[in-house]
Symmetry: C2
Subunit: 676 residues, 2 copies
């Protein structure tokens, strides 16, 4: 964490100084905004946190609810999401309070007595060490709390405008703010939120414990509103992002629909405090029995458990009947499945009947008009607004956040003039494919989960699938196709372990100036900057060529008067031991002067190190399994050097030889706009 | 982190539900309090955080300053302090924002040109892997912020009463509250604090950046007050703890003095944002040159650096002259020492002339009256109020916090009736020895530091001393002598790696219920409970004996109606692999029912595991250097089993055989009081 570069600041360094629109931010929504985010779920809150790093941009986020989410919805946090939290500065804290999945148990019918279950297998959750981050379980509400903190503590000081509802939007030809948005007071109050939920679920006396969960209703259901006589207000936005969930009004106002499954499979989802003799109550379990199946997810705090209890196929003429299944019935069925073990529910924290619907929108922006003519997109949808799916693979919240991460910096870059408006077209292009892949995967997984064990091809089918798909499940298989911000890969061989289009996979290195052994990837904060890594050649000749050519190339895209590293954070990774590096010999490119006091930034010079050499001085480091491989070995980086350019969202943009300043220039000419 | 056991709670789990005196805590100080803490430095704030865990105790903490400390004073955080932070729940967070020391550089005069320095050596900071925690540098102000948060978020909801000054106290024979304390409004305002500091230091235009640092003045100097005409108020306390720093009024009112050195050595201490070509500016450095010596401490945030610049011996007739040394003079001297490198100070965050005085009080309580007659202590002093010393070994803040940790649970235990009042006598007995040892050590270190290199016996003298003394420096050498709470060690051989009287040294184990690989010691939170670890024998027979005898023994000291683990948190460590443990076979003692819902606590059953087997599933774990040793091997625990009883302050109380229920009873009879 770097701070004090503009002088000493007292207090929590996570609270960045307010700047631009963050200074005296008005409580009322202005008549014109740059970005209007609709909805404060995971997609919307990530966007808010990201755009808070662009304090010259006026961003507002409206939310129909009266206040923060209190309970319910998603809880599965993939390692990729934790990696993202790290970039926003709260991975350590949320990990501390979350449940960590390390192992999954599989239970099935006993051979001698199929009415009773026994444990058939355990698998390591991350048997292959895919990530240095954990696989966590924690309430979506807490994820949102942390993003809210990041949004508020960023220079833009962004806070949701609660109790405000998006009604409609239309595009016109206003020269700067072409989206005309109608909003109104949502009529929501804390009490009304609670009561609506209690009525909708009818499950729990203490309404305050429950939160409205629209995702449980089919996307076609009507949206309860506070009556149509409430006055509306019109504001203008340059861009609108609909993060308003499965029944998105923004999507509807764009004339788009979710297409996909009509057939549903229903699950009773209950968060309970149980008493049980089932020994794996604190393990993630997939339980198949003659009486049905359960996905059991232990939760944060050591006592709470989530059960996904199979309620069977929903027939076309069900007309919402399955949704009347009570928590008592669900608990009863759970008991039957768990036999010979018993489950006594002491307290229900949240309950919902969840119907699985795999649905997808064919594009995530308004980049074509009603006549099918292409135009610059100004309205986007993200998260459940463009893709819904089973919760079983635990993907929804995670993918929604990655939608936000993909779009946030692009909005920031275009609105600050760093990149051409065409950059925004890559959002739908990149994320729609990801969503399609997710749904394909999710279908396979859900149908496997729903099968009774007798129907499985062989008993190991699910286990194998599960382990094979770990990289996918953890959120690391996303690969963006070549575009203006993703290279084509002629020089991929120079750094085979940093595949172009995939997210930059971290590795331990030694920071030379202070001999701290750190994860290189974790130095990449969600601050909207590009990262350019120069992996040095052994002799340093190619590095010298790079260091003399790069400043001029990069300066063209860096605004006059801004810090030299305002747009590109350039770091070097040297091959020699950190003790052998003479900082006095390192090119000034890697020791830039920053801030109003023009202090030297010493945190850009790294040396390769084998994890073994991090011990015992830094035994706390995340290490891979090969203790002897340094980053050049582990990531297959050429010992003749390479440069790796990484996008602000942590995806590898391109790999080039160190002497390819010309290729770098061409690439950047496509992705950015000249600043001077 | 465990929560939700009384039902689902939304929001930050670090905020514990308010209880007892924490519910509707009055803003005004009541006329009678149980504990009055004077001073909100490290000793006082730790005490406040600890006593917030005893919500039946009325605790107030008064502080003369108008508000929180903003800058200055200590910054060196030993691993033992970070371990303590872990017990209070904020180690991860403070580590994230701190500077981590991994290596120390030694610089000395060049052989060919003694006017110029060169690097003579580097040493690993923790070459022997003494702790899994880091050695940190972070402003004392931030440490206090985190303790303030812990105090406020604990059930007792304790907050400092700022702007209130302790004037005097006297003992009388009031039956319950024998300390009569005079307090008054300190007259402090934020502006006055700043102005007083600016006047005292005269160094920096921006007074707001500076904080009053009384420790820099000799302990005999007069204390500036807001005038004596301010009205006073008298309140009564059962116990008073003077954490009011080097010039403690509480100490003075007890009639005690600090004895020790009269001769001082002066150092100019400056926190600066520099520009320099000195390559080790981000490393901890001990620099000896012909022009003098510097201890250089890089600080949090990547830019700030602290210099301790040697200002030489202070002659007896100096009369404060050395304290007029300006920051410009100090910076000039630093430049001379650093030659051939140069240092340009861009900004001074804080500056002080620090005079080294090794002083110690002969006892830390009022357990003897003016006539030398022994009596039950009711007034205590902690931290700098009882020992002052050079900042060079970076011990002051750390030892002060350990004073607080030693005293806090004792006050809580006596005030809740858990232990007899005699327990409080062990505070002075235990901590006075520690302070004496510290001062002895510190003298050696300071005089070494002050020596010009030519005066050293051999060039490696300091390096060797430094490395040898690492365990001491890190805060782990403290060993309490046998007493009512520390055993005599007949059975020490059963667990040689848990020396009685030293703090329980953690090691990785597998938590059986959720297959989480955790540090056993880190499960010991600062909640005032004793820990009883049953290390199982291979066959489990001795464990069974223990499990059947222990509940009755422990119940005698556990209040009726309280959770069974309210006083003793009993954990088992099994020898077999976690996969081979059948939770159904584990004695109920280790799976207690807790909270209002009587939910099972699954986090007390552990299995030994070799660090190697934690990989890759838990590569993030802190591991020792021997990857194949499980906790029995590493801590030399007998494979025939052992019980290890640990005090609430993490120090090992005693080691016994598993079948020694009788010995356990006798020990507890001495340390605690029967509850039923
Ligand atoms: C029972 C259940 C279990 C789940 N389990 C998992 C899991 O284990 N893992 C996982 O990853 N995902 C899971 N999900 C899915 C997950 O909750 C969603 O994928 C995720 O919340 C989507 O995030 P989002 O930001 O797109 O939308 P949402 O979280 O739905 O947020 C939309 C927000 O927009 C607001 N809004 C809606 N309309 C308007 C309007 N007109 N004006 C203003 N505001 C509006 C809503 O109030 C809401 O706050 C689960 C879902 C359910 C129902
Ligand atoms: C320049 C310098 C550098 C140092 N560097 C280090 C270091 O690197 N490492 C290290 O461990 N230590 C260091 N120390 C020492 C460290 O600051 C002290 O040891 C530590 O602060 C002592 O903590 P304490 O709680 O005992 O007292 P203090 O921190 O002194 O707190 C005493 C508090 O009591 C208040 N108070 C005083 N009188 C009254 C009254 N009558 N009524 C109400 N309130 C009152 C004061 O305002 C103050 O807040 C350094 C000290 C100095 C001056």
């Amino acid at each position: 964490m770097q701070f004090h570069h503009d002088g000493y600041v007292s207090g929590d360094p996570r609270v960045q100084p307010a700047r631009g629109t963050g200074i005296n931010r008005p409580t009322e929504i202005p008549d014109q905004v740059d970005v209007l985010i609709v909805g404060s779920g995971p997609a919307g809150m990530l966007l808010a946190a990201q755009l808070s790093q662009y304090p010259s941009v006026t961003t507002r986020i409206i939310e129909r609810r009266a206040g923060r989410l209190a309970v319910g919805q998603a809880d599965g946090i993939q390692a990729r999401s934790v990696e993202t939290f790290q970039a926003f500065g709260f991975a350590e804290r949320i990990t501390q309070e979350a449940y960590r999945i390390t192992s999954t148990s599989f239970w099935g019918p006993r051979d001698d007595d199929p009415a009773k279950i026994h444990r058939t297998k355990r698998t390591d959750d991350d048997a292959n060490g895919i990530s240095e981050f954990e696989h966590l379980i924690v309430n979506q509400a807490r994820v949102l709390d942390y993003f809210a903190e990041a949004a508020l503590q960023g220079p833009g000081r962004i806070e949701p405008d609660f109790g405000i509802e998006f009604v409609a939007q239309e595009r016109d030809d206003h020269p700067t703010h072409p989206v005309l948005v109608t909003i109104r007071d949502s009529g929501a109050t804390k009490e009304a939120d609670d009561a609506a939920l209690a009525a909708a679920t009818g499950l729990h006396a203490e309404a305050a414990r429950l939160a409205v969960n629209e995702a449980t209703a089919p996307p076609t259901a009507s949206i309860p509103t506070g009556g149509d006589d409430r006055p509306t207000r019109q504001i203008r936005a340059k861009y609108v992002v609909g993060c308003d969930g499965a029944r998105s009004n923004v999507r509807r106002s764009m004339g788009r629909t979710l297409a996909g499954d009509q057939a549903f499979h229903a699950w009773g989802v209950m968060d309970v405090l149980p008493t049980t003799d089932f020994p794996d109550i604190r393990m993630k379990c997939a339980i198949q029995s003659a009486a049905g199946s359960i996905l059991l997810i232990p939760r944060e705090g050591g006592h709470l458990v989530r059960f996904y209890v199979d309620l069977g196929e929903v027939s076309a003429d069900d007309a919402g009947k399955v949704r009347t299944t009570t928590v008592e019935e669900t608990a009863k069925r759970a008991n039957a499945i768990l036999s010979p073990y018993t489950l006594e529910v002491q307290d229900v924290a949240w309950y919902s009947v969840y119907e699985v619907g795999h649905r997808l929108c064919d594009r995530f922006d308004d980049g074509v008009d009603a006549d099918g003519t292409e135009r610059a997109p100004h309205v986007f949808i993200a998260g459940d607004a463009c893709h819904t799916h089973s919760a079983k693979a635990g993907q929804g919240m995670n993918v929604s956040m990655q939608d936000g991460l993909n779009l946030g910096w692009k909005l920031g870059a275009v609105l600050t003039g760093q990149s051409p408006a065409a950059l925004l077209e890559t959002y739908s292009a990149e994320r729609q494919v990801v969503a399609q892949n997710l749904i394909d995967y999710d279908k396979t997984w859900s149908s496997l989960m729903a099968k009774k064990s007798a129907e499985l091809a062989d008993p190991d089918e699910m286990t194998r699938f599960y382990v094979d798909q770990a990289e996918f499940l953890y959120g690391f298989r996303t690969t963006y196709e070549p575009s203006m911000i993703t290279g084509t890969g002629e020089h991929q061989a120079l750094a085979a372990g940093f595949p172009i289009g995939k997210r930059f996979k971290s590795y331990p290195v030694a920071r030379v100036a202070d001999a701290n052994f750190v994860q290189l990837g974790h130095q990449h904060r969600a601050d909207g900057r590009w990262r350019l890594y120069a992996f040095a050649d052994a002799s340093g000749e190619a590095l010298a060529t790079f260091a003399s050519a790069a400043p001029e190339v990069l300066a063209r895209f860096t605004p006059e008067g801004a810090d030299v590293d305002a747009v590109f954070d350039v770091k070097v990774v040297l091959q020699q031991a950190w003790q052998d590096v003479d900082l006095g010999e390192v090119p000034p490119l890697f020791l830039p002067k920053v801030g109003s006091l023009q202090l030297t930034d010493y945190e850009k010079v790294y040396a390769a190190i084998a994890p073994r050499d991090c011990l015992p001085a830094a035994p706390k480091m995340a290490v891979g399994t090969d203790f002897d491989a340094d980053i050049f070995d582990a990531r297959e980086v050429s010992r003749d050097g390479a440069m790796v350019l990484v996008r602000p969202d942590q995806y590898v943009a391109t790999v080039l030889p160190l002497n390819a300043a010309g290729d770098l220039t061409s690439f950047l000419d496509g992705a950015l706009q000249l600043s001077r």
